[in-house]
Symmetry: C2
Amino acid sequence: MMKLKFVTTNKYKFAEVRKILPVEIEFSPLNPPEVQADSLEEVVDFELDYLTEKGYDNFFLEDSGLFIDSLKGFPGVYSSFVYKTIGCEGILKIMEGISSRKARFECCIGAVIRGKRYKIKGICIGKISYEMRGKGGFGFDPIFVPEGYDRTFAEMTTEEKNEISHRGRAFKKFRDLLLTIREDL
Amino acid sequence: MMKLKFVTTNKYKFAEVRKILPVEIEFSPLNPPEVQADSLEEVVDFELDYLTEKGYDNFFLEDSGLFIDSLKGFPGVYSSFVYKTIGCEGILKIMEGISSRKARFECCIGAVIRGKRYKIKGICIGKISYEMRGKGGFGFDPIFVPEGYDRTFAEMTTEEKNEISHRGRAFKKFRDLLLTIREDL
């Protein structure tokens, strides 16, 4: 089976994903422009367009975001910027006095394999905690409690988190896809 | 003098700008992709590239943002999204307990006139107020107090605000540029 390039600059994502996929993956720190958009799908499509126009093939990339219902989807596709600037503390401050804590993590994978484009989505429903908890994971993991659990993503091991997370779910679908198209690879 | 197209979907910006420029301007609600970037200049350059590649000429566009020092530049180039989601109230909540209120509004104009590219910047230094004040302006105007004043942008008339604002300053430079290159127009 061929090697696929994972286009990312985030080594945490790379570490999570390599535990899931049935193919060897290569860290490819290209940085295609990310467009300002309302949905991850639009961001991913734009990146795929950009890289295929440049002649790249046999790669995948991923974009994730935390969407908080009572904040109209904030921080959404800008989660990475919001994390780097105001962080978990900033989100908790905005959420002070807001009892509706529902949120979801979304992950959208885009892939181009032998010239064919694939897009895959994974979602994890949950809620924003009232304080930061846990040391694992990265980004907003310390303030996100997935539905049916009382621990945050940051209080779980990578394996536990992968089992239920948006990224885990999307990459399990991607794994199944790769197994299906195996003969072409 | 020729008519220039102002590429914007924001009628408030259009109304502010038409009071400053010495040429007739046309509302042009094109929506070129905005890239996720650290600076307004990068966002504007990307838009200019996109539109010139599509064959557009004789237009200008503008991108503005509020950069709060103690929040590492948040909301920055994503000010419009942040305004639409968490609004002024969200910013005030994040700033609770933070005594360092320094912030700046930046405006970057990009123009292509007879195939030539221009980029112009305007900055207005100030601070974040402790509460929303005023009904004028738009966006984060009710929480921004420009240096040397004790009123927010939203407590000023459009004329007063244009006198000192980031957008006013940038567009006055742009006006001077237009007067200089008048013979070419």
